[in-house]
């Protein structure tokens, strides 16, 4: 089914269902038949938002999480790109590392938490390593597939010009891998953000948005829980927009993108 391209037009039909849900929510809350702790009335949610916006603890928690994210993301993505480029450029490196990486990748990310906390304690080290692990694989996979995509013609030119390995990497392989690497970093950042919240939520020690969320749940404060989720959703969107913006000059972002939880 080929649809002709036309200017994007806002389709009012998209808003019917969300609006209906909101109306249903307002009505259901006003009857008072359901537990207001679970079915938060609109006015209370508004109060929750207003209170949270003025709550320095929430912003501090967000800051802590972002700092942790930055540390883990840098660590994981740099290691990931390095390994990905090595594996993408060298047959031997691929044979050496790929089977092990593939095995490690099979383990669900958060299943590493018990081991990491036993080794590194409940502090920042375990969390940062988990975040790095979350960022590592998307960065590595996309860097690898990017290096593979270096055009054969260019590689041939490099051979004719007798480029050494480093020049070949710098002048031919990395430029052609750039869009893939950018896509990988974008996925890695989203993955690392989920890893951050999950690690904080599961380890539940120290500060951070995940810890804040966990304590809001313990206190039975659905309004605060919703505020936290909205905040982490927006932060995630803002972060991916940031990466897109940084790499805007590059070619359109393509890559192995299979987002899941």
């Amino acid at each position: 089914m080929i649809r002709t391209a036309r200017a994007p037009r806002i389709d009012w039909r998209a808003y019917v269902v969300p609006l209906g849900c909101v109306l249903l929510w307002v009505w259901a809350a006003s009857t008072g038949r359901w537990n207001p702790h679970l079915l938060v009335p609109p006015q209370q949610l508004a109060i929750g938002f207003a209170q949270s916006a003025r709550n320095p603890e929430l912003w501090l928690a967000l800051g802590t999480s972002l700092a942790r994210l930055a540390a883990g993301f840098l660590l994981g993505s740099i290691a990931g790109i390095a390994v990905g480029v090595a594996v993408g450029c060298s047959r031997f490196a691929e044979r050496l590392i790929t089977p092990s990486l593939d095995s490690v990748r099979q383990v669900a990310l958060f299943a590493w938490i018990p081991l990491l906390t036993a080794w590194f304690g409940d502090g920042d080290a375990a969390k940062v390593i988990l975040i790095a692990l979350a960022a590592f694989f998307p960065a590595a996979l996309n860097a690898q597939s990017g290096c593979r995509q270096a055009p054969a013609a260019l590689l041939e030119v490099g051979r004719v010009l007798e480029f050494d390995a480093l020049t070949r990497l710098r002048r031919i392989i990395l430029p052609s891998a750039r869009p893939s690497i950018a896509a990988g970093l974008q996925i890695a950042l989203t993955s690392a953000w989920i890893g951050t919240i999950g690690a904080e939520y599961l380890i539940d020690q120290g500060a951070g948005l995940g810890v804040f969320l966990a304590s809001a749940r313990m206190d039975n404060r659905m309004d605060v829980v919703i505020v936290c989720i909205v905040l982490l959703g927006f932060t995630g969107c803002a972060l991916s927009a940031l990466v897109r913006w940084v790499f805007q000059k590059g070619a359109p972002v393509r890559g192995v993108v299979l987002v899941d939880d």
């Binding site: 691929e94 099979q106 036993a118 080794w119 989920i194 959703g233 939880d261």
Partner: protein
């Protein structure tokens, strides 16, 4: 968590089977060589691990000897503890997939068939599904408590979207030319469904199931670590609390192996049941 397609390995094309014996023996050699090179890293890790244990670099509580882990693994496997924990977890996955994946399939198929339904419901569904399952967890825990309903709800959420997206794409994927052929052959609605629509959609639905299984497995481990009295994730978290790191090692391996087996099994099934599928 975000997962990506597997590392590309140097796969052997099917055409190689036809080659003469001499070549085949060099291929056997090449394969053995690949296995040997691939085993270097795991063996090195094992060596470092053994040395670290021998030199008592870490407390044995935190770093059990490789042999201890191996024995514990055998013990758990033969003793049935692991099997019963795994059975609980897998049952949850299957039930959650049946509920969430089933709903996702129905919604995806309906919205894929009808542009109108898609215009009304599509944007809302896609927006809600953008929020990762992990973030939903606190809400679900407040609403459903920490019982079996929680696990069902979380897995249903994790499996809904992959099946929704893929069945949706499956409905819209049959090339226009196929429908034109169907027009020329004057197929009736039933024949068209059987010969064009279903064969085109099925591989995508299978991919959806595969992604859903992997999603479900990942979030289930988290839920079981947080709030459960049974299952493989609980077993792992509990042995961590008791500082039985050997059991933790074994459960990590089992979690990885189970995830891999589900994925490989689905791929195999896809190839057998749908030889026309491209993936």
């Amino acid at each position: 968590m975000i997962r990506t397609a597997p590392f590309a390995t140097t796969g052997a094309p099917a055409a190689r089977r036809a080659r003469p014996a001499a070549l085949r023996s060099t291929q056997t050699y090449a394969r053995l060589r690949a296995i040997a090179i691939g085993a270097i890293v795991p063996l090195a890790v094992l060596a470092v691990w053994s040395i670290a244990v021998q030199l008592h670099l870490m407390r044995s509580q935190i770093l059990p000897a490789p042999l201890t882990v191996w024995r514990t693994g055998i013990e758990l496997l033969t003793g049935g503890d692991l099997a019963s924990a795994l059975a609980v977890s897998l049952q949850r996955v299957v039930l959650g997939l049946a509920l969430g994946g089933g709903l996702g399939f129905i919604a995806g198929t309906l919205l894929g068939r009808s542009q109108t339904l898609d215009a009304y419901f599509g944007p809302a569904i896609r927006t809600v599904c953008q929020i990762p399952t992990i973030a939903w967890l606190p809400v679900f825990m407040l609403v459903f408590g920490i019982g079996e309903e929680l696990k069902l709800a979380v897995i249903a959420k994790a499996t809904f979207f992959p099946l929704f997206l893929n069945s949706f794409a499956g409905m819209r994927t049959a090339p226009v030319r196929f429908h034109e052929v169907a027009d020329v052959l004057e197929l009736n609605a039933w024949q068209r469904l059987r010969l064009v629509t279903i064969p085109a959609a099925l591989p995508l639905v299978a991919t959806g199931v595969r992604l859903a299984l992997s999603n479900a497995w990942h979030v289930l481990i988290v839920v079981e670590m947080l709030a459960s009295a049974a299952g493989i994730g609980h077993m792992m978290a509990w042995s961590r609390t008791l500082f039985q790191l050997d059991v933790v090692f074994v459960t990590i391996a089992v979690i990885g192996a189970t995830g891999w087996l589900m994925d490989a099994g689905m791929r195999r099934l896809e190839r057998l049941a749908m030889p026309w599928s491209a993936s």
